[in-house]
Symmetry: C2
Subunit: 131 residues, 2 copies
């Protein structure tokens, strides 16, 4: 659960996120909620999104502009990366054990510890390439 209390706004945000498969910004999410007739303050959207990230329910992707975008974590919750389409925003999960091993090895080579990485790729998906 998000916090302690189940409110109309948290339910609305959680439900909306269930149906979204692309990384979206807080502003976009707020806007989508309004279009669905859900009146929710922007501040509440930010607060809820942050809480969900802290509880591992959402992943964050930083856009080149510095804007934060969010996507629900896959239920399986395994460590993985994303292929994001620069045109339509479609996101594909990618699990690559070799990649993890490589990162480990590189870090060790340079005596770095507790290395984190959040690797995401930006490309053009098949559908958008055709268009």
């Amino acid at each position: 659960m998000i916090g302690q209390r189940v409110t109309r706004q948290r339910v609305a945000i959680a439900e909306l996120l269930e149906s979204v498969d692309e990384f979206r910004s807080a502003q976009q999410i707020h806007q989508m909620l309004q279009q669905r007739g859900q009146e929710i303050g922007l501040a509440t959207v930010y607060r809820t999104l942050n809480a969900m990230v802290e509880q591992g329910q959402l992943e964050v992707l930083l856009q080149p502009t510095g804007e934060h975008t969010y996507l629900r974590c896959e239920p399986r919750g395994e460590h993985h990366h994303h292929l994001v389409c620069r045109t339509c925003g479609r996101t594909v999960d990618v699990a690559a054990p070799e990649l993890e091993q490589l990162v480990e090895a590189l870090a060790a080579q340079h005596d770095f510890r507790d290395v984190e990485h959040s690797i995401d790729f930006l490309g053009t998906c098949q559908d958008c390439a055709r268009a």
Copy 2:
């Protein structure tokens, strides 16, 4: 060259960046310049930094806060990644051909084209781990 004209402020910024080995924000760079007695407007720092990035003289790293940080490109200019120390900011260049191949393969597997990636790792360097 940065633009067309060589000004006191551009020289100061370029010289400062020569001596820096960690990713630094525009604000930090501005502050460092002031401490060196260089009076330069913040706006000019931003404008110059952006111009240098566009001309491939600097690399950009987005901090988790969404803040942009800059570091001069290695002269060799080859594609590579960074290991950044979360404590001291020290940055180590890492070239990993295997990593590039892996990325290519993953993208192809999912029919994504023109895939870009900017992979940076955050860890604790040997010196900071000891302290």
